[in-house]
């Protein structure tokens, strides 16, 4: 969609054309929904959260003045809705910074070394669920940056525009978010833990908790 088409759709949406708005957000829906997944406990909650955010976008579109790209403006609103929701829930369930217990990985049904290929898929699914859960424990600001960079593949500049912060802040948030994720996924002594898990036959999970390899300078 080129910029003229976007401008035309925005103007129509500002007049109350719902179908124009739906076309406008169509290509952003997967990102908005995945982004919501990091801020909700389960898939249903993520769908509700994404709907609320998109409704807010629709209500605010009259104020869009073409000063930034539409996607930046959209993601900025969506992010704010998610952060507000996370903050309002923070008082109710403060589950942050709790490393996942040993059972979270050991309970993996695919730990059997003889596991067939179908079970490997299950293992990946379990890993994904584990990572989604771990993401949910990261402080919201760091989580948003980490999701946008590491999962959605946006650039530092794009994230800085969405978050309206300097590049240095984006990098700092990303670094802290990653550190938090690693702490949550791994126990105090990751090396021992990795060996333990590998011995149980779950090499992928072991790699997750293994300390970071030193990269050549």
């Amino acid at each position: 969609m080129n910029s003229e088409q976007v401008e035309d759709l925005v103007r129509r949406a500002q007049q109350g054309d719902v179908s124009a708005f739906e076309r406008l957000i169509g290509e952003h829906l997967p990102l908005v929904r995945r982004f919501a997944r990091a801020f909700a406990r389960e898939q249903e909650g993520a769908a509700d959260l994404a709907q609320d955010a998109l409704l807010k976008v629709y209500r605010s579109i009259g104020g869009y003045r073409f000063q930034s790209s539409f996607s930046t403006w959209l993601y900025a609103i969506v992010r704010n809705v998610y952060l507000d929701d996370a903050r309002s829930r923070a008082g109710r369930d403060r589950a942050a910074e709790r490393p996942l217990g040993p059972t979270a990985v050991d309970a993996d049904p695919t730990a059997d070394p003889e596991a067939p290929r179908a079970d490997r898929r299950l293992e990946r699914e379990e890993l994904r669920r584990l990572v989604w859960d771990a993401l949910g424990t990261i402080p919201p600001e760091f989580r948003a940056t980490l999701v946008l960079y590491d999962i959605e593949g946006l650039t530092y500049e794009e994230i800085a525009a969405i978050e309206n912060t300097p590049l240095g802040t984006v990098k700092s948030r990303l670094s802290r978010g990653r550190g938090h994720l690693r702490r949550v996924l791994g126990p105090a002594a990751p090396a021992d833990r990795a060996g333990e898990i590998e011995a149980a036959g779950n090499s992928a999970a072991a790699d997750l908790v293994r300390p970071e390899r030193t990269e050549p300078a």
């Binding site: 949406a13 500002q14 007049q15 109350g16 719902v18 708005f21 739906e22 829906l29 997967p30 929904r33 995945r34 997944r37 898939q43 993520a46 769908a47 994404a50 709907q51 998109l54 409704l55 629709y58 209500r59 605010s60 579109i61 009259g62 104020g63 003045r65 000063q67 990946r124 890993l127 994904r128 990572v131 989604w132 590491d150 999962i151 959605e152 593949g153 309206n164 300097p166 240095g168 802040t169 990098k171 700092s172 990303l174 670094s175 802290r176 990653r178 550190g179 994720l181 690693r182 996924l185 992928a204 790699d207 997750l208 293994r210 970071e212 390899r213 990269e215």
Partner: protein, 168 residues
Amino acid sequence: MSSDPNKSLHLPEDLRDVLVSLGHETPPDEREFAARLHRRLVAAGPPRAPGWLERLGASGAALWQDHSADARQKRTLLTGAVFGALATATAFLMLTGGHPGRDGNPATGPEEEAADVDSPSAGPAERKAQRAVGDRRPTRDRLGEDIGAERPERVRAHPEVPETRATP
């Protein structure tokens, strides 16, 4: 915590792969989601246009953002220099009374202003032309005697005045 903001903590390769794969996930029930969203959008009615207060707020916010961006990019020095130049120019104009001179230059002082009032048409070139032949300023030697007074006036030759014609 002293973390270098320019150096993000690296993730293990496998974890990075898992994160990337999360980015390729297609959220479930796309049609159901779209249908429900459509119903809610229709029920919400048309988006309202921002009022003057909201527009003012948005303009203020944009201005503030620009200012913050300038401050982040160390443009305050430039702004200070511009303001300084403007203040200097204003002060200069106020000191000189704000009246430019005849040639576009500011007047140099009250004496000249007064002289101009007395003989408004007498410019420097005209004053020179008004000086008559022989109307010479006294030239004095070391002892203070007027040299010009002792020396007779040399009359220049003029074709129409017979007295001035040189006799061979």
